[in-house]
């Protein structure tokens, strides 16, 4: 059964014919793209930042501001979630047709929870970087100590052997 052949290689391979002899005769690779670009009909951006909740059309339940107390907000959102689940079960018992509003509220709380956790990720990245730098500094200091010790040991042995040779 005939299958489709792979697409041919891009035609500008001919420009690299003399690359082994003269690396400058071939064109430079294209520079990295900045801003937005289109890939297979979809728009992508090179600026990877977490979009705030308002940009996604979701109401923000925790207070805005420069420094958010993540632990407190996460705990209070958890309590709100439990209360809403309890409310939903009450509504289902008494007025079952009004579940939609409660379910919306619960999904709003979940979206806020996930957004809070996602905004913790840059903090985690910086903390990981700090940890890696500290480890690297420690390893380098250890290596410096090791080299110093070995050099002193070598000097000592050379002096010893010099003494032994002169004693002969």
């Amino acid at each position: 059964m005939a299958t489709a052949a792979y697409p041919p290689p891009p035609p500008y391979y001919r420009l690299y014919k003399d690359y082994l002899q003269n690396p400058n005769s071939a064109p430079e690779p294209p520079p990295p793209i900045e801003g937005t670009y289109i890939c297979f009909g979809g728009n992508y951006t090179t600026d990877d930042v977490l979009p705030s909740l308002e940009e996604q059309g979701v109401r923000q339940l925790y207070p805005k501001g420069p420094n958010i107390d993540f632990k407190k907000e996460l705990r209070s959102l958890n309590r709100e979630l439990q209360l809403h689940i309890l409310e939903l079960s009450d509504v289902l018992v008494e007025r079952p047709s009004q579940y939609a509003r409660r379910v919306e509220d619960i999904s709003l709380i979940f979206k806020n929870l996930h957004h809070l956790l996602n905004s913790l990720r840059p903090h985690q990245a910086r903390a990981t970087l700090i940890h890696i730098l500290e480890l690297q500094i420690q390893r380098r200091k250890q290596a410096v100590e090791d080299i110093k010790r070995r050099r002193e040991e070598a000097q000592r042995r050379l002096k010893e052997s010099l003494g032994t040779l002169e004693g002969q």
């Binding site: 439990q82 700090i130 500094i137």
Partner: protein, 137 residues
């Protein structure tokens, strides 16, 4: 798994327990009399009537346990630093210290390599003298 991923997993688990609870209870609940006009529904004393009374208790216990687990994970978050600027300042400090220690290491390495070359040179001369090697002319 890191703590933030664990927190995300825990949230998803709470959501799963919640909708499983409501779904199961709604599906398995025995029929109930709505109004005096309609006859009493046929009471089928099947064997899940006994089990069914346990389900809400078990499921709500699972939900509360998952919520407590979430609180425990939140308490375990290592949010020591007081903000982004403090972290960036610490990163800059560590980078400069890393550079200084790196240069130190580089100097030690070069000195050690020089000494190694000297010793190797001297050793090969001593060995040549011992073996009385003559160059073929």
């Amino acid at each position: 798994m890191d703590i933030i991923s664990q927190l995300q997993e825990q949230i998803n688990q709470i959501a799963g327990i919640a909708f499983n609870t409501f779904g199961t209870l709604q599906r398995d609940a025995p029929p109930v009399r709505l109004s005096p006009n309609y006859p009493e529904p046929p009471a089928n004393p099947t064997e899940d009537a006994a089990n069914f009374a346990e389900q809400p208790k078990l499921m709500s216990a699972a939900l509360v346990k998952a919520a407590k687990q979430f609180d425990a994970l939140v308490a375990a978050l290592p949010l020591a630093e007081g903000g982004e600027e403090a972290q960036l300042k610490r990163i800059a400090e560590l980078q400069s210290e890393n550079d200084a220690v790196g240069q130190d290491l580089q100097r030690q390495l070069e000195a050690a390599e020089k000494e190694l070359k000297q010793v190797q040179e001297l050793f090969s001369q001593a060995a040549d003298n011992c073996l009385n090697l003559k160059k073929p002319n």
